[in-house]
Symmetry: C3
């Protein structure tokens, strides 16, 4: 059994932003040299998500609009009594999905035609990390 | 370490449909012969979910009704500017949950009394695949 | 390759309750002695979630309030035709997220500064189990 661990760093220009991280993950798979395995991709901050969906700009807008509708920014969340203003971001992360596990088969990400992995930031403009961990052989 | 990879194929008769795939997964576990491991079950298309919940027809209706309420079909999603009409399906997948990882213990799916794995299709009537990948020993 | 399996048991005093289980998971990691691996944390009952977010009491209230808004208790869910009254709990579990997979690096949970793992109970006051399974070396 082998393992491989990396940390990606993001610092988005917008408070809320979606970034396609599939090319970075494919590079890590190539570098790790693991042929058959599972890869966890997990945001290390709790106001961001990693999710798999279509890499289509209109869909990015639909996703952000839906999350804004379901958990709007600027509401009197109890979490704000700590001095924070990002209660919406903590909730959006949960609704979109926290993390993904991916399959590696024959040395490559084992994806359907439209599967692309995204980092969704809900409280950006600061440095944040995403953990990538592969287990396999 | 050993690994085992399979692809299930679904072609639902309805646009939106829930299918209990637990028996198929139990067959794969038996065939793989892996005693202790983790099994990723991941839809390879981004308008479907794999989730674990009760195999109860009333609950299936509740789940589909709730998702229809939260992300209705036929709204002017930005994604539709590409010619698609399935913006709702992309959103429903995220709200329900994209994928699951299951435990295999003593050669069997290690489940509580009511845990059943389901494929939820939100844009069906076409061939779609679900990846099943086991890592273990 | 090595594996380690444990079952945590919860019996909450409230119907709906959030419990920080990070210390229990850290103990299991220490006991397992696995240095590099993946850990699945999965509720074995389908009216509960395991999720990662901030361990902040105000946020717990925000999460429970948002889920109550999106999937209220006491509505005429179809699932209730079986005699159950917990249709809301099945839906809340899906919206919050069913389960998480965690990374173990150098013998410890590989977490960002605020990542804490929680058990969220939506139909409590009874004994329920959470499966913890580690694969690694």
């Amino acid at each position: 059994m082998r393992s491989h661990t990396e940390y990606l760093v993001f610092n988005t220009s917008e408070r809320t932003q979606i970034i396609n991280i599939t090319p970075k993950l494919a590079e890590i798979v190539a570098k790790a040299g693991i042929q058959e395995g599972l890869m966890l991709v997990n945001p290390m901050h709790i106001t961001a998500s990693v999710y798999v969906n279509d890499a289509e700009p209109g869909l990015y807008q639909d996703i952000l609009a839906k999350l804004e509708e379901l958990a709007p920014y600027g509401k009197p969340y109890k979490h704000h009594q700590t001095g924070e203003d990002n209660g919406d971001a903590h909730l959006k992360r949960q609704l979109l999905g926290q993390q993904v596990t991916l399959a590696i088969t024959k040395g490559q990400l084992d994806f359907g035609p439209w599967e692309q992995v995204h980092y969704a930031e809900f409280d950006g403009r600061r440095k944040k990390r995403v953990l990538v961990k592969i287990l396999g052989e």
